[in-house]
């Protein structure tokens, strides 16, 4: 019997394909668990360390927000987990367990099976993501049939109509062409496409950034509805803290490729601990009465081609101490005042900070 080996010499196992279970994922194990993920970009002027030893978890039903500015590595992180980075230009290491399977070790075929059926992504509004010469209905059918080639039009329509209703689109949109859609409608179609196969996890990468205030508000309402009624889990990658405050349960703050703070949204955004998080929140002019002068964060992003011994935020930190210069702070759990936490809950509910200010505390 002939084996078909792929490039690495491994025989692709057919059992592996069925390991992406269609059963409901249990609530106690993380849906996505990233461990020590590192991504470096190869450039003519050296290696750019875009993501440095990032570990985080996302549980079913608890959306996670990833916030950071340019150079934080947040988009690189999700693109790496989804294996969408060009292989020749990056060096990736670490693990990313999605429903028990390490995505970083998966082959192209395995990833194709996972993508869209279990894990999908919506990008920032880009008019190029849909073919301009096909009607919306044809494009939806096209995407649907990638994973279910036998599906009939009637089946697909039956699947789509409830989703259309959830995102406030009228069925007559199916007969339109992409150029006839407004920005908001377009993005809703992208969101719908990402949900077509009931994926366990949907990543939204700056998905509401280019939209008008009112349209963004409506889409945030729709996303909340999807979370409440369908139990959909999202990972929201954005620079806009307010979007995360609205949609997510957990938030991770990234700076220069590191996670500097991670915790529940009520904890991190109301009582931020890391100086960077505090600086970010203070940079947003409040919409409450009274006028406070906002102060940004002084200084510039560090050069990601350099490796730092200490904390990457140190040069800009107003509370830097001597050891911040030469010792990289680890993410440590900080005492939570709401009673005692069980050890299993630590990952899910705890407030972690990577800062020497707090390293004395902890359990």
């Amino acid at each position: 019997m002939k084996h078909n080996s792929n490039a690495s010499g491994k025989v692709p196992s057919t059992e592996h394909a069925h390991r992406i279970s269609t059963d409901v994922w249990p609530n106690e194990t993380p849906l996505l668990s990233v461990k020590n993920l590192c991504v470096d970009y190869r450039t003519p002027s050296g290696l750019v360390h875009a993501v440095q030893r990032v570990s985080l978890s996302c549980f079913k039903g608890e959306s996670l927000g990833l916030v950071g500015e340019s150079g934080s590595g947040k988009s690189t992180l999700v693109l790496s987990v989804l294996r969408l980075l060009p292989r020749t230009k990056v060096i990736e290491s670490g693990q990313a367990f999605f429903k028990g399977i390490d995505l970083m070790k998966s082959s192209q075929e395995e990833m194709s099976r996972i993508r869209w059926t279990a894990l999908s992504i919506v990008f920032q509004q880009s008019m190029n993501s849909l073919s301009p010469v096909h009607k919306i209905s044809e494009q939806i059918e096209d995407v649907y049939r990638v994973h279910q080639p036998e599906a009939t039009k009637a089946e697909i329509r039956a699947k789509i109509y409830p989703l259309l209703e959830m995102v406030n689109l009228s069925p007559r949109i199916l007969d339109l062409y992409p150029h006839e859609l407004s920005g908001g409608m377009f993005q809703r179609i992208n969101i719908l496409l990402s949900l077509v196969h009931n994926p366990d996890l949907v990543v939204l990468d700056e998905a509401t950034t280019a939209l008008d205030v009112i349209t963004q508000g409506q889409i945030l309402d729709e996303l909340n509805r999807l979370q409440e009624e369908l139990g959909q889990t999202f990972i929201i990658v954005t620079h806009d803290i307010s979007v995360i405050a609205d949609l997510c349960k957990r938030i991770a703050v990234m700076y220069a490729g590191h996670i500097v703070e991670i915790g529940n949204v009520e904890s991190v955004l109301v009582k931020p601990l890391h100086p960077y998080t505090c600086g970010l929140i203070n940079s947003i002019p409040p919409l409450t009465k009274g006028r406070k002068k906002i102060v940004g964060i002084q200084g510039e992003l560090p050069d990601l081609r350099q490796t730092f011994a200490g904390c990457p935020f140190e040069p800009r930190c107003t509370e830097a101490m001597e050891e911040c210069k030469w010792k990289l702070p680890e993410l440590k759990l900080v005492n939570v005042s709401d009673g005692e936490l069980k050890t299993e809950d630590e990952l899910r509910q705890g407030h972690f900070v990577a800062c020497h200010k707090y390293l004395g505390e902890g359990l």
């Binding site: 450039t43 003519p44 002027s45 500015e69 340019s70 150079g71 230009k89 920032q124 620079h239 510039e300 992003l301 050069d303």
Partner: protein, 293 residues
């Protein structure tokens, strides 16, 4: 989309130096082409030192095959073919470069004006460009040379005047897209006049494809000049490669080296340009593929 820091952090190397270094590492073809053209330029400049004989002097050693004294043999009048090749370099390069310069200058200005100002001016210039692109230029050149005489300068100017439309088209396309850019609005806002914006900002920022095209036009002009000389329409008073080919064609069987070396010189030069052109497009491709953010 967020704007981020540029890739060149604090370095003060000029873009030209960087581009040069980059070119050399990325494209081997480009390097070879550049090398060939360098050699040809050096030969042209130092012709009196490179050529062993005066190419105009008639000699007694008639129709000698290539030997130690005459590397490429002699023609039916005893002239050293190698020396003729060397001096021919000057003619070819001068005609090529000057014709391309004329074409580049007229094309850039015409295309820039058409693309930037638009309206009736654009329609008029585009109509002229369309007419030129319809006419087979080589025949046009032959007719004009036949009418106005075949001096060296005439040939140069005529080739330039018939090849500017392709540059105009390129520049117009660039101008159309650049005029929507923010820095054009910014320049107008601080008070630059339209013409000033065109020459200070639009043309310099859009010149790259036109430059690449003009470089290739040098090769085209050299080829055209060789063709004209071969047909007997070149300047009879200067020695050019085309003329060599034409002279040697009458006794190809008995003295193959005259035409052959003349032709080879043209082939080598044109190949050098095409390799250089390929090199430039290799560089532009790797720039756009995002390696060099």
């Amino acid at each position: 989309m967020f704007v981020e820091k540029g890739a060149n952090l604090g370095s003060s190397n000029s873009l030209a130096v960087k581009a040069g270094k980059f070119f050399l590492t990325v494209s081997k073809r480009g390097m070879v082409g550049a090398a060939i053209l360098c050699i040809i330029c050096v030969v042209a400049i130092f012709a009196p030192f490179v050529a062993p004989y005066d190419p105009y002097v008639l000699g007694s050693e008639v129709l000698q095959p290539p030997n130690r004294a005459h590397l490429c043999g002699t023609d039916h009048l005893g002239r050293d073919v190698f020396s003729m090749l060397v001096y021919g370099t000057r003619v070819s390069l001068i005609v090529g470069v000057m014709a391309a310069l004329i074409s580049g200058l007229i094309g850039t200005i015409a295309g820039g004006i058409a693309g930037f100002f638009g309206g009736a001016t654009d329609r008029a210039i585009s109509a002229i460009v369309d007419v030129f692109l319809m006419i087979p230029t080589f025949f046009l050149i032959i007719i004009i040379v036949a009418m106005f005489g075949s001096s060296f300068v005439n040939v140069m100017v005529i080739i330039g005047l018939t090849s500017w439309p392709s540059n105009a088209r390129l520049m117009r396309a660039q101008a159309l897209s650049i005029r929507e850019r923010g820095f054009v609005v910014g320049a107008r806002a601080i008070g630059e006049s339209g013409w000033s914006v065109l020459f200070r900002h639009v043309i310099p920022n859009g010149i790259l494809p036109v430059l690449a095209n003009t470089i290739m036009q040098v090769a085209g002009a050299i080829l055209t000049e060789a063709g004209l000389s071969f047909l007997g329409l070149g300047d009879p008073n200067v020695i050019s490669w085309g003329q060599l080919v034409q002279v040697g064609s009458t006794y190809l069987t008995s003295g193959w080296w005259v035409s052959t070396f003349g032709g080879l010189a043209v082939v080598l030069t044109v190949m050098g340009f095409y390799l250089l052109g390929d090199g430039i497009s290799d560089v532009l491709n790797s720039l756009s593929s995002g390696e060099w953010r």
